[in-house]
């Protein structure tokens, strides 16, 4: 797993590459919490390089979403690969996360 954070005025784009599973969910959580704690109110998670996720990873997505909602911020996902999107659909997460097909659309919100 590789995480890149790009903070600009008003929003932060986090790109996650590789796998988010039970072996590295803690590391992913720490990186995401760091971004949340920096006080950004709009986080866009670019998932174009995310090629695997399990419930351990989905758990962190939900934690971040709840944290952002609590501060009236936004946590937006974009560029989900079809297999990842399917897991979101099966889990009923597609209806609670704002999901966009590309970064431009996510930025426009």
């Amino acid at each position: 797993m590789k995480i890149q954070v790009e903070a600009t005025d008003g929003y932060t784009i986090v790109s996650v590459d590789g796998r988010v599973d039970a072996t590295n969910a803690n590391e992913f959580e720490k990186s995401m919490m760091k971004v949340v704690e920096e006080g950004c109110t709009k986080i866009i998670l670019d998932c174009s390089g995310l090629n695997y996720i399990s419930s351990s990873g989905l758990r962190i997505f939900l934690i971040v979403l709840k944290k952002m909602m609590a501060i009236k911020g936004q946590f937006i996902l974009c560029n989900l690969q079809p297999e990842i999107k399917e897991i979101f659909d099966i889990s009923g997460l597609s209806s609670i996360f704002p999901i966009y097909t590309n970064k431009e659309a996510a930025l426009a919100t």
Partner: protein, 134 residues
């Protein structure tokens, strides 16, 4: 057959094994993804909740392909636990109401066509089958 220890790091080896098996059996990438997910969820449960002691335990995983039916049997010597009895999470809840966990077994049931549990000789047998006709 694949044998793993009750350690989360073993999941990396499971993913590698599945990729090789997928190549050998000509399985499509989305199917390998699904099988990896199912195995991770089942193994993480066993590793996290199956044992009281600190000892090393071995979990055996058997893979079979019979025509278009693929089956995975996972055998562990942990506590008796029947995951098929676990009730499904309510996936219609709002983000505020939604608990952050409890998706693992649900995902296994959704991805596979049949999930069967047996307890024999102090071991848990989880038998997962899926029709892989493309």
């Amino acid at each position: 057959m694949l044998q793993v220890n009750n350690q989360v790091d073993e999941l990396t080896r499971v993913a590698g094994f599945l990729e090789e098996l997928g190549e050998e059996w000509g399985l499509a990438m989305p199917l390998i993804f699904s099988l990896n997910l199912v195995l991770e969820e089942a193994l993480t449960n066993i590793i996290s909740y199956g044992y009281d002691d600190e000892s090393m335990h071995t979990i055996k995983i058997y893979f079979r392909k019979n025509g278009e039916v693929l089956s995975i049997s996972i055998i562990d010597d942990g506590h008796e636990y029947d995951p098929t009895l676990r009730s499904d999470p309510d996936i219609t809840l709002s983000a505020e109401e939604r608990p952050v966990g409890g998706l693992g077994i649900f995902l296994i049931k959704k991805v596979m066509d049949n999930v069967e549990y047996q307890r024999k000789e102090n071991q848990n047998y989880l038998i997962l089958t899926k029709n892989i006709k493309s």
